[in-house]
Structures are given as C-alpha cells and as structure tokens.
C-alpha cells in the first residue's frame, strides 16, 4: 500500500456540486480484466473530458526508447466533478505519474481502466479501489 494513499485524511469534501446525471452504464468488468492490475509510469499527454467516460492518455517510454500512448478510461465527468477534479488537474503539468489500471479483456493493446494516479509532487488521486491490491486498507 503506498504511503500517499495512507496519507489520505478522511475529511469529507465540502463540495457544492451541480445536478448530476444518472450513472447507468455497462460494467467495467465487461470491457476490462479486473483480475489484473498494471502499474505504468509516464506523463499525461491528453485528457478527454467527455461522457460516458473520461479518458487519460499516458505516454509510457518503453525500455527501447519508443513511446507507447495508453488510453486509460476513467470515471464519468459528473463523478470527477463531484470529487472536485478538473481536466487540468488530471493533466498534471507534465509531471511523471505512476498509475494503476486494469488491461482490456479483449487484448486491445494500450487500453486500460484507470484506478489511481500518483504524481511526482506527492498528489494522489484514487478513482476506484484496486481489487488486486491485497495490502490496501480498502480491501
């Protein structure tokens, strides 16, 4: 369990939020392999602030030097807003970021479901709990 998540303080956000759309959608497990969690490190090159899912594009430098851009699907816009998050906050100003993500079930390369992000400046964003993190407090 990483220290950043441990450092989260259980303080309810006092966030006024606008009306929220219903969240009905397909299951994450219908597209992504929730039994596997990948750790990736790179920089965020783009964020799609769209429904029904936002997407974070992560440029990951491979060992040979080539860069692979992952599209990491994430929560709907309404949930991001309720968490007080914006597109700009996900971009992270080009910092190095380490993420946890489920890979695509159908084998599509560089496609995943984003669970959390840890930025170089110590900021940690958890979007969904990782069912494969056996050391996590939230198991």
């Amino acid at each position: 369990m990483n220290a950043k998540r441990n450092g989260l303080v259980a303080l309810a956000l006092v966030l006024a939020v606008i009306g929220l759309p219903a969240a009905a959608h397909h299951s994450v497990a219908g597209v992504f392999d929730v039994s596997r969690t990948l750790k990736l490190t790179g920089t965020v090159s783009r964020v799609d602030w769209v429904n029904p899912h936002t997407s974070v594009y992560l440029d990951v430098k491979e060992s040979g030097g080539a860069v692979t851009t992952w599209r990491l699907e994430c929560l709907p816009v309404a949930m991001m807003r309720k968490g007080g998050l914006s597109k700009q906050q996900l971009l992270g100003d080009g910092q190095t970021v380490t993420v946890a993500a489920h890979p695509a079930r159908n084998g599509t390369p560089a496609l995943g479901y984003l669970l959390d992000m840890s930025f170089g400046d110590g900021r940690h964003l958890q979007f969904s709990p990782d069912p494969n993190d056996k050391s996590a407090a939230n198991q």
């Binding site: 759309p21 219903a22 769209v50 929560l75 079930r105 940690h124 407090a137």
Partner: protein, 262 residues
C-alpha cells in the same frame, strides 16, 4: 389592496406555511414561485463520497481511512413500472441485454423521465426551460406556460412536447407526443408513443420536491409513480456540459452491467 385583504393574504400565507411545514419559497413578481437556479439532484451517484487528502490528493470512490474498509454502498431499491403481461418477456430480455440494446449506452437521448430532474431551471413568465447534463450528453426542454403555445414541428420526439401550468405554488408539466425510442428506466423499460408524463415541481426554501407520474395505456398495467426526488439549490454555475462520445462498445466482451439506479 385593502388592509383587510392584505391581512387576509398574510394570514393565508401563514396558514399555508403551517400546513405544509415548509420554508417559504421566493416568488417572482407575477406571484409564482421562483424556480430559477442550479439544482443538485443526486442523479444516481449518491454513493460517490469524495475524501480529500494532503497536497491536493483526492479519493473519489471506494475511499477508506487507513486500516478501514470503505463503507458499503447503500442499496438502491429501484422503482419500476408495471407492464401488461404481453410486454413482460420483452422488457426482461432487454434488461438482461442492456449492453446490447440500451440507447443511452450509445449516447442517444435518455428521454423523459429517465433523464431525471433538471440540473438548471430558467424561468420566465411565458416559459420554463430545463437544462440537463446527462451521462449521454447535454439536453434541454422548453416548457411553454401558455396553453395556446404549439410547437411548429409536431413530430413525435425524444423529449416529447411539454406544456406547463401552475397549480397554486406547484409547477405542473405535462408532456406527450414522444417517440418510442427511449426507455423509462435503465432496465429495458420500453414505452409506446402514447406515453404521457406529468411532472410536479414545488419549491420550499432552497429545495424543490420533484415528482413524476408516467402513463402509457398501451404498455403499462397502471400509472407508474416515480420515487420522489429532492433538488437542492447550489451556487455552483452550470458550466458547459460534457459531450457524450462512446468508445467502449467495440471492446465489450460480455453483457455484464451495473445494478442500475434509475
């Protein structure tokens, strides 16, 4: 206005307040309650309980203090329309295969009342405009308050043709002339073009009590009374709604889907 009629009016308002036990609602100059504003309505993601951490950290879902398990999600007991027997099998099939058939999963309009209460209300003496940011995209509905108003295009439509009127302090919106391409709920709740929806909005202080009754004499065995919703006024501005751009369907492996909250 005479002193007697003024006193009578004050007494009437006081009596009404006592009867309803509710905070007074601001009124417009024409005497009707002022529904203008941005309204938080819960919208099916009440289970999202964000937790703030240090250095700008945020946990959006599944949050727990160190060493603690996250609180389980509250069980949402869905309210569902009752169908005539000949339509039950079709509704059940669509519910089981929501991923294959649900129009909302393909960014198509959710229709009424599936879209839920409005996120923002713009009210004039002649019409009320409902604005929505839905997971399937931005939508709006124009509700004329003049019974003589008639849409130029009278084709059946996704949001139907709405007409509003005031019953005391309650805005009543009656909508019909729907197409049959939307669902009433997430669970395959189809309807015919004979769908009629009556919504009632009553403001008390900084909340609006929202209710909807759905009638479809072709498919439903009885009118469906939706679970009431409470809207809470917020000062957060209604920004540009996010568009809906579907990217998942090509990657779906099976029909698994959420337990559906609306």
């Amino acid at each position: 206005m005479t002193i007697r009629s003024f006193a009578s009016g004050v007494a009437g308002c006081l009596f009404a307040s006592l009867v309803w036990g509710a905070a007074a609602a601001p009124h417009q100059i024409n005497g009707h309650p002022d529904l203008n504003g941005v309204w938080e309505n819960g919208g099916g993601i009440d289970f999202v309980k964000p937790v703030a951490g240090s250095k700008g950290s945020v946990c959006v879902t599944g949050c727990a203090a160190p060493g603690q398990k996250p609180a389980p999600r509250a069980v949402v007991i869905p309210d569902r329309p009752v169908y005539k027997p000949q339509f039950l099998a079709r509704v059940q099939e669509l519910a089981a295969k929501q991923v294959q058939f649900d129009p909302v999963l393909r960014c198509r309009p959710p229709g009424v009342p599936r879209i839920g209460p409005p996120d923002k209300i713009v009210q004039t003496a002649r019409e009320v405009i409902f604005l929505y940011e839905d997971v399937s995209g931005p939508f709006f509905r124009v509700v004329p308050l003049d019974a003589k108003a008639k849409r130029n295009d009278d084709s059946e439509s996704y949001q139907g043709e709405a007409l509003g009127h005031w019953e005391a302090d309650t805005l009543v919106v009656e909508t019909r002339n729907f197409n049959d391409e939307t669902w009433l709920t997430d669970d395959g709740a189809i309807h015919s073009t004979q769908l009629r929806v009556t919504e009632r909005l009553r403001r008390s202080g900084d909340t609006i009590d929202y209710r909807a009754v759905v009638e479809d004499p072709v498919m439903l065995a009885q009118p469906w009374v939706m679970r009431p919703r409470t809207l809470t006024r917020t000062e957060v501005e209604f920004g540009e709604p996010a568009p809906c751009i579907e990217q998942d369907m090509q990657h779906m492996v099976d029909d698994s889907h959420h337990t559906n909250p609306r």
